[in-house]
Point group: C3
């Protein structure tokens, strides 16, 4: 059983952002683009991003002729179109006439016209103008044979502090808390005499106002996220009502901290995202690959469906401190990584380099030289040729038995917390540390949210630094373990509720003290460079850094103890049998080796392993997709060296149709796609 | 003869900030607090800080019932109360209705409601509202048996640039200078054509306006300090007029650069301050101890009376980059250090951790777990038990014969000076370098101001980096030396007058050229990493860094000369007999070893030594208090190792009443309190 | 044939900024100044900078009496005056009454009165007030015998974003582009939907608005520069119309990036500039000397005439991070360096240290002690004595055969470009790398602009990082090479046109692909610490860092190839014969050794060498001036050690009149001035 993004197009999508609106004065360029598209084995163009001033050059005066021609030309050349709404950047005339469409910053300053993504999502006028242009587009192209998808706006994000947004925020708060008394209690407003008499006294956080009331700060971020989702829904409805069968996406940005993408995924049909890993052609590339893989998994797990890699660069970008060329073979490897993790596309920003302005030196399929005789064009062509052989992979899904828990609001709350290592509690690095252990074993995982996923789909859940645990989540975890699940948590678990209000009565709170069978008395924060040691039952000694909790067992089995400092002998790692399941507690942060071993042991215990049966080595991993019947394994080698391994299974190589078993070699920077 | 802060309470105060107003919805917590207070050997609660919105939830609608109960409960539990005025944070309704109560920043932007300490000290409305609530409090509790002191607001500080403050500044200038011509002359306004025609043309320094007229910048800082003191006086009067016998304090912050605390001390009855040393349990702790000791001495010397340690943490804080747990024994040592330097209290911020908002992870006596079974609670209890044995120390004073001169305006002027090492002239480090030499010898010192202290109380005055010397100070120093005092100054002495106007005719100015018998021609500023050498008379060679002045002897005896660079052979260290006294001049900055030896030699010469006759070692010091008859010596060990020393005096251990003489051991991180 | 700045004063000018307006209350100081001026062998005072509030203390009320007396006194003492217009700092009354004269920053905030250089150059009122005071000055002193020159304002610079300036900017754009469509095309405004409908929609770049449209940013910088020049012209006209024979200058600041000085030089008579090299008395001083030399050459080459060193410090400054004393001999060496590069003056900021405000610790001829008995005063006197012997050098010029191409807008465009090493493309360091090679050989060079100079005056032109090449420049370079010139370019050549719009069809663009005979496909940007190697034809291997272009020869001879990485074997250094000339292309950045050797080889090939025939060593250089008949060579030694060399020419030492030939010694930090 397959899950197609668009059942009318059962091929891997290969293409990218195309901005003919920049080249309307260069007709020879536009026709050359069609020739080159075919040459490069691209089958798609993402059209219309930032094209508003070309589509509506003056208020109410629309110009679709150029787009008609481009759509037709693409179709004639055998291509498809993902059509963007143009709301990512408004025309100058709109800013000039409707000042309220411009954002206001957190000091109350209205922005001037400029840049992009600089409009108030609350503004009724902006919403009206967006709806109008979106509907014009939908009406015009709803029956165009090239149209296979919608792309809403571009990389939604940012915040606005205008009076309209403030008022919307107050309404949101009122809806959430009901009474101001309830809000005062949850935000702990008696602190610093902040008790509000009414919602009208509340403003968003600001460098000129409040910055230390965490409840306010958290709610503001939640409001921004939900208000953005509301705007996305507004855009979605405007096109969906006209083209009900065309799937709609918005391009996301991995772990971007400005939005909770679980709000956004609720209001779109499928996920797509923009991935710009910092390949640098050194040992460090393994970390880059792991981080990129984790992002793909996060994006896919948003709705556990196939997604699009909506943007990637065929070469370098132009906004990193150092913009190095992509080395030979890396583009293929990077592109297939997305597919391995569930992408049904490889798309680029951008098709052709702009002639001017900020992104003119951003990598693209077609360079300023304007022809097919470049290294980059050939790399892209090779990817196109390979993707054409992967039709059967399209629509397959990823179904792991292991989950890593990650929620945006948990990270927000940890990041803003006073105390500990004040400026960076390193939740991101900790997530990586956990993720890398799975990646190195070639074990597929989902990255799940507290509210958004059914825990019973998984055998084991890892929830590092789960600082924020609502009573509801506490119950859900308790019941997961009780019913036989394995739960792994760490230092900083269950300290606060969903409004960052401390759990009283001993940590971990929200009922988890009972689940883990421990009490966490204090958290020692080490200075940089300092460390402690932890001795495991088998005598192994591992290093503890950053955080060491002083916990007491209240029934849990102690698996390791601190080996030095004044809390020597106190438990550092415990397991508690609870109902049918087990709850592991890791009281310290380690430098990575303990985490890896601990994860290996636990996965062995619960019986989860890689879909690939052979040995892997550092830098080589395996990820799988399935249609419920066939399993497709992607063997990926992020090292320059060939790697010999052995399998006991009889595989079919998907590209070539050849069978494979026993000893075989995976070439340096190579990817094998095997079917079981 | 003793000097009691409150003659009706002759015990060490042990307690801290208590915010029942945060827990009004949790009556079980409030009653548990009383049980725990007794258990912890606390005898005091500081009540009402930031409680305004609980006391006056709506304008003119007051609610004292909760406080009545808390006051009574504390009294019933045997405790005392230091009652705070709530002006440190205003309620939201006030900001909403009276916008003028909100501060304006140095760009002219009015702050939004939020944070704390965010109100204009000039605003008549704010002053009126503060007076009203303060008087209500005073009237209600003036006869309450628990009341032992007033605590005005909280950690006064900050600046406001609103029109009211600007106008007040102009009035202050007019009063100081009389005529605009006089101001123009002292600020040297002809420079860059800044001559003012009237006071109405003057604005405070601003990133949008003036930043390079030092006279203006200095006067603004002085104005802010005096205007704050004026507000403190306003608060003081409002309670003092009703409770004339209750001593009033404001909690200060050591070397905080936002105020000249000598302005504040004039308008309060006794000093208290908040101390948060960064104990990290390494060798570095000795420096922490020295710095903390210097701050205690600065605070005590403000009026040379006993003081309160109004805030300290029983564990960690939550606002440092790394918030490590206090190690065992350190809390006792740190608490007794305050007493050794003249404190009659050990108080905490805070009694119980807030459940929410910014300070929820700040150390407190009672943790979120809410009981007495924590390490921290036991540490606090131990301190309480020990303090109960120190009744006889209460009210004793410190009377050193050595003074270090420090004035806020001298530091301000040096810090803002153009030239030299532009961004950090290191006056703080230089003060530490000097202080540490006294600390290591166990010699008590006062830290005195140019105007505020009688120099004749001291045998020797050290005034490093005394850049600013008014004619009046010049005369005072001259007369001090003439009458037999010993004065020690350094590079950068006597360069400017009190308005940062250079002394003409050769440095050191204001008459000091004659006192020191030298002329300072030039100051060579070395680059980081560079050094010169200085050869002393006995052939010792020491290192010179940062600053080397090219001075000429005009009668002074040369004690050392530069040993390299183009000024080799010029004097680097001189002494001049002047009248009955001596004036030493050190023309260079050294890396610390010279300073230590020089101070040792001079103290020997003037016959000043420690009150403890035995040997000390690195990290061990002695400080004393006296009632005029008995001398109490605190022997403090800031190292983890036991230390054996020997005394020829017969002492009594104050805690135990046992006698002590000959060889004895001071335990690692231990403190002995001995009576002579 | 000589080129005198003022034919009525054929002597080296020795003097500096004099601010008697700061000392009007100190008449004894003013008379002492005249005595000291003569003692110090100064013959000039620069008068009136920032004196506006002394000259016009109230609006329309003028006071010239004090200046009359100072002018007369200087004249009586045998001195001359360069008279400044006072527009560098306006009086407080003007800011108070005419708010529009205050600048507005890039967030739209109006500055408060304060600092200096804080006025809108567009403001009609400011222009009117400036014209009035300038004309009053000119009328009053036009016939004064001391007057030898005008000094307009002080160090023009800065930007204003007020409505008047915005309007002027729009007008400037309209004039430049004619139509909004044309502007949209050149700025590539279709990008991010920025197409403008009219000029009234355009604002300057701002942190609140646009920051990524390079065409806008470049044009704004050009507008600021031209608008400033327009203001300079306004000042120029106001005095020139009254004193047509008095030469007019404005003091410039070397490579200051706020203005294109080629705009300014068009509207003044002669160049002067302010030079504050960071002499630190270490090996690093050689780099300081080279950078200072390059700045002198840039300033002189603006119009290829003699110039004034309008400001320098006789000792230290007060605004560097570390303000070290100038070592013995360094002041003489530094002063004569200016003369060697074409200066007809050595002038100081400032004559006497201010008593107060920001610059009171800035080095000056007369210190706060107020007499002649200081080391600095004696150093100044020695320079004065030596300059008196150099009358015959006055008016001589520098006429190199080598040019380095440098344009402000090329640097602006590179600095703001997205991509590559994003935050610092190091064009300044690259210029230094090139310049140092010439300096080390003692070869004179000019630093020329694309539009401002005739290329045919030079045999060889080096144009490193010539990113911006308009079609006109492309033609001019093509024709230079075709006619026999030698052109040397590097990586990043000819990427964009004058509006930062990419050249299409393969780089280097604007016709240079043909001239160099290569195609540049890609630019690899290396990470810091990474390097590649390049092998030259003779087998030498050099290091490539930062940038390695992947170029293809299209006819050029390959002189070196990459020796590693995936582009091993591709050309790295090429030469192409084109017409009668040669065009060298260097595809990589090297660490300096290759550049030095390459320049040596090319200079040898075109037959350009030093005017001094003897050997030089590291830190010793030679520069020359000529009157067309005699050549004056300055041999300068920036090392502490004596240096023996040998010459085959018979020279005359200009100071002493002695002849010199064969072996001779140049003393450490010494300068010999030889006539051929």
């Amino acid at each position: 059983m397959k899950d197609y993004i668009n059942p009318d197009f059962k091929h891997m999508v290969h293409g990218g952002d195309y901005n003919p609106d920049q080249w309307l004065d260069y007709p020879e360029v536009l026709s050359e683009d069609m020739r080159l598209m075919k040459l490069s084995h691209c089958n798609e163009m993402t059209l219309g991003i930032f094209a508003w001033s070309a589509l509506e050059p003056e208020e109410g005066k629309f110009n679709f002729e150029w787009m008609d021609k481009v759509m037709d030309d693409i179709h004639k050349a055998g291509g498809k179109v993902v059509l963007a709404t143009p709301s990512g950047a408004k025309p100058a005339w709109m800013a000039q006439k409707y000042v309220e469409t411009l954002r206001v910053n957190d000091r109350g300053e209205r922005y001037w016209y400029g840049e992009r993504h600089n409009h108030c999502y609350t503004s009724p006028i902006y919403r009206e103008k967006v709806k109008l242009i979106n509907q014009k587009l939908a009406e015009r192209y709803k029956d165009h044979p090239a149209l296979i998808g919608w792309h809403l706006s571009n990389e939604y994000g940012g915040e606005c502090y205008c009076d309209l947004c403030k008022e919307a925020f107050r309404g949101w708060l009122k809806k959430k808390y009901g009474s101001i008394k309830n809000l005062n209690g949850q935000w702990w407003n008696a602190f610093w005499s902040h008790t509000f008499n009414g919602f009208d006294q509340i403003n968003p956080p600001s460098p000129l106002g409040e910055n230390h009331v965490h409840g306010l700060k958290l709610d503001w971020k939640r409001f921004v996220s939900e208000q953005t989702a509301d705007f996305v829904k507004h855009e979605y409805d405007s096109v969906k009502s006209i083209t009900p069968n065309i799937p709609v996406t918005a391009n996301l940005m991995g772990f971007y901290q400005g939005l909770n993408y679980r709000d956004i995924v609720k209001v779109i049909d499928y996920v797509s995202w923009d991935n710009y890993p910092n390949w640098v052609n050194t040992d460090h590339d393994i970390n880059v690959a792991q981080y990129s893989a984790m992002c793909h998994d996060l994006m896919r797990s948003l709705n556990c469906r196939p997604f699009y890699l909506m943007e990637s660069t065929p070469s370098h970008v132009n906004w990193k401190p150092y913009n190095k060329l992509k080395r030979p073979k890396v583009h293929m490897l990077s592109s297939l990584q997305a597919v391995a993790h569930g992408s049904d596309s490889v798309q680029y920003f951008q098709w052709r380099k702009s002639r001017g302005s900020f992104e003119k030196f951003h990598g693209a399929v077609v360079d300023h030289v304007g022809n097919e005789h470049t290294r980059v064009f050939k790399d892209v062509t090779a990817v196109g040729e390979r993707l054409e052989k992967l039709d059967e992979v399209v629509g397959t899904v990823v179904r792991p038995k292991v989950a890593l828990m990650y929620d945006w609001d948990n990270q927000w709350a940890i990041d803003m917390a006073g105390g500990f290592q004040l400026n960076d509690k390193k939740i991101s690095q900790t997530n990586c540390q956990y993720y890398n252990a799975f990646w190195s074993k070639g074990v597929d995982i989902d990255i799940i949210g507290a509210d958004s996923h059914d825990f019973n789909d998984y055998k084991v859940i890892f929830a590092p630094m789960r600082y924020m645990v609502s009573d509801a989540l506490g119950e859900k975890l308790k019941s997961f373990v009780k019913n036989g699940g394995t739960l792994v948590c760490t230092y900083m678990t269950g300290m606060v509720n969903e409004n960052d209000l401390c759990h009283l009565g001993g940590w971990p709170g929200a009922g988890l003290r009972e689940v883990f069978g421990i009490w966490n008395e204090e958290i020692d924060t080490l200075n940089p460079g300092e460390s402690n040691t932890v001795k495991l039952k088998d005598g192994t000694v591992v290093k503890a850094v950053d955080y060491c909790e002083l916990i007491h067992s209240e029934g849990a089995e102690v698996l390791a103890e601190y080996d030095s400092d004044f809390y020597k002998g106190m438990p550092a790692y415990t397991v508690n049998r609870y109902g049918e399941g087990k709850a592991y507690y890791i009281a310290f942060r380690d430098d990575g080796s303990f985490t890896k071993q601990m994860i290996n042991d636990i996965l062995d215990e619960v019986g989860v392993s890689s879909e690939f049966d052979g040995a892997l080595k550092k830098g080589v991993t395996a990820h799988s997709r399935t249609d419920g019947e066939n399993t497709y394994v992607f063997l990926e080698n992020y090292t320059p060296d060939d790697f010999e391994t052995e399998t006991g299974i009889l595989w079919t190589e998907v590209d070539t149709g050849k069978t494979l078993t026993g000893k075989f070699t995976l070439s340096g920077y190579g990817t094998l796609i095997l079917k079981k």
